[in-house]
């Protein structure tokens, strides 16, 4: 059995930031476990720019953003293992892992940080009827084939879903010589950033069909066409609106899901809303000393936010090792209400907060000139005016500790109040 103070599972942006921050906070015996052949996670295949505006105040590509953290990690002398797969984790924080180099390892950690990231929703999960030919890829898989492996996945492409990965891939495939015929989005609005609609679709005259979805995939061996239909308010296809596009490839950009097989197997409680672990103000999960951060907790829009959240997890993992985290004192749960789909963290122990509490949440629909209302039990303690709220844009609230420190309450409710 090998002993470490902090073991970070996952060497992507979340794991890197957590490990660096743990070290900065005085823990020396840290191990980062990465299943891929290099650190950096999914950033290595996100070769486009747009990363780092918050954290570094400049615009970086994915590999550049990763590079800064990898360099820092190496300069700090933090230990890491590549090509290493964690097979299991238990409540005693014993990790079983394997690698070519080290064989079968049993590792005992004082604190664990889960940073496994997320995976893409698939064709099966969204259930498109039709044949099952080759040529249907999730956008991230296509991105890997093109940017890392150097292979093109098709020449005439239809993209389902207008999340940022889908938009970025529309441009990327166009630049590599493919013809992107259309992007279909089932919602009446795009899930991606405005800037990506401009520079990935509009620049290349790629049509975006809002309130449309693929209702059938055709082709026996390889995709030969797709049928696209308009949908009504309840997202049901409207008969008579179908049109068929001949294509050889379908890319799916239909959402991401936190990857928590390891967490679930360890017995960590999962929030059905986020599909990630329930976490506290310190990013601690339902198992003492097991922390989680980044897309394994909830899917973020910007890597910068992943970095900030992971720094908190790393810092608190270090505190835990030094026995500086308390389960005593006042605490409350957070509860999403009217219009709010989830809140992170789900539980807050007041005594662990220094000055401010970071809250992340998402709303269920688009709202203009609305308010986010915070209630301690029934008492309204704060309202935030919001010009624009959208499900695709995570909201970040920074609550001063004094707002709630002196109050006695069980539940902090957050809801949307629409403009009259």
């Amino acid at each position: 059995m090998i002993n470490y103070e902090v073991v970070v599972i996952g060497g992507g942006p979340a794991g890197l930031a957590a490990a660096i921050e743990a070290k900065r906070n005085g823990v020396n015996n840290i191990l980062v476990i990465e299943r891929d052949r290099e650190l950096g996670g999914i950033l290595q295949q996100c070769i486009h720019n747009g990363f780092g505006l918050h954290v570094f105040k400049e615009e970086l590509t994915g590999p550049e953003y990763a590079h800064r953290f990898i360099k820092e990690l190496k300069d700090m002398g933090i230990e890491y293992k590549l090509d290493t797969m964690v097979l299991s984790l238990n409540k005693e924080k014993v990790i079983h892992a394997i690698s070519r180099e080290d064989g079968y390892m049993i590792i005992k950690a004082k604190a664990v940080v889960l940073a496994m990231g997320c995976r893409e929703r698939t064709a099966g999960a969204i259930n498109i009827p039709g044949t099952r030919p080759s040529g249907v890829f999730s956008a991230g898989t296509a991105q890997r084939y093109i940017n890392i492996d150097g292979y093109l996945v098709g020449k005439k492409v239809v993209i389902l879903g207008s999340g940022d990965i889908g938009l970025i891939m529309a441009r990327r495939m166009t630049l590599e010589g493919a013809k992107v015929l259309a992007v279909a989005e089932i919602m009446p609005y795009s899930g991606g950033l405005n800037r990506n609609i401009v520079q990935c679709l509009n620049d290349y005259n790629i049509p975006l069909y809002l309130s449309h979805t693929i209702t059938e995939i055709k082709g026996r061996d390889r995709v030969t066409s797709v049928v696209i239909s308009q949908v009504d308010e309840s997202m049901k296809p409207i008969p008579g609106t179908e049109f068929e596009l001949e294509c050889d490839t379908v890319l799916l950009s239909v959402g991401l899901i936190p990857e928590n097989e390891l967490s679930e197997q360890a017995g960590i409680e999962i929030d059905p809303r986020t599909k990630g672990p329930y976490v506290t103000e310190t990013m601690e999960t339902s198992i003492d000393g097991v922390f989680a951060c980044g897309n394994v907790v909830h899917v973020h829009d910007l890597v910068d936010f992943v970095t900030e959240e992971s720094r908190r997890a790393g810092k608190n993992a270090a505190k835990y090792v030094k026995d500086l985290i308390t389960n005593q004192g006042k605490s409350f749960n957070t509860k999403p209400s009217n219009g709010v789909s989830y809140i992170v963290p789900q539980k807050v122990r007041v005594d662990n907060i220094d000055n401010t509490l970071d809250i992340f949440l998402r709303v269920r629909a688009i709202y203009n000139n609305a308010k986010l209302v915070l209630k301690a039990d029934d008492e309204v303690i704060k309202e935030y005016n919001k010009k624009h709220l959208a499900p695709g844009e995570m909201e970040h609230l920074v609550l001063p500790k004094k707002l709630f420190a002196d109050k006695d309450f069980d539940t902090l409710t957050i809801e949307v109040k629409e403009a009259n």
């Binding site: 070769i47 550049e64 590079h67 890392i148 630049l175």
Partner: protein, 118 residues
């Protein structure tokens, strides 16, 4: 007087800009949340440019493609011409992040630089 609507692509905010160019050539801008909105609008309406990110072929390395980017915006209409040039390049290690892969591409004054170490 001319009116234009643009979405600023400087950052993920994606501000919706309303630009008015007055008779005497003055620029009025609304909807921007920072001062970069104006410079973006002026450039976009006169000489739009884009940062180009792509890959180049690699030999003698485990990595099969090297990610690269333009060090600054390339005129929009020259993007595919630039791609054709970049696609002809093959590099081999060692390469450091920031190394110039193609200097002054298409006489734009912009370099194509490496986005990672190799």
């Amino acid at each position: 007087m001319e009116k234009h609507n643009l979405i600023c692509i400087n950052c993920p905010m994606g501000c919706r800009l309303e630009i008015t160019i007055t008779e005497n050539g003055g620029w009025l801008i609304e909807g921007n949340q920072c001062k970069r909105g104006l410079s973006y609008a002026q450039k976009e309406l006169t000489a739009p440019t884009r940062t180009l990110t792509t890959t180049v072929k690699v030999k003698n390395s485990l990595l099969r493609r090297l990610p690269v980017k333009s060090s600054d915006g390339i005129p929009k209409e020259k993007i595919f011409e630039a791609m054709a040039l970049i696609n002809q390049v093959t590099v081999e290690p060692p390469i450091s992040i920031g190394d110039i892969i193609i200097e002054n591409i298409l006489d734009t004054g912009v370099n194509i630089i490496s986005s990672r170490d190799l």
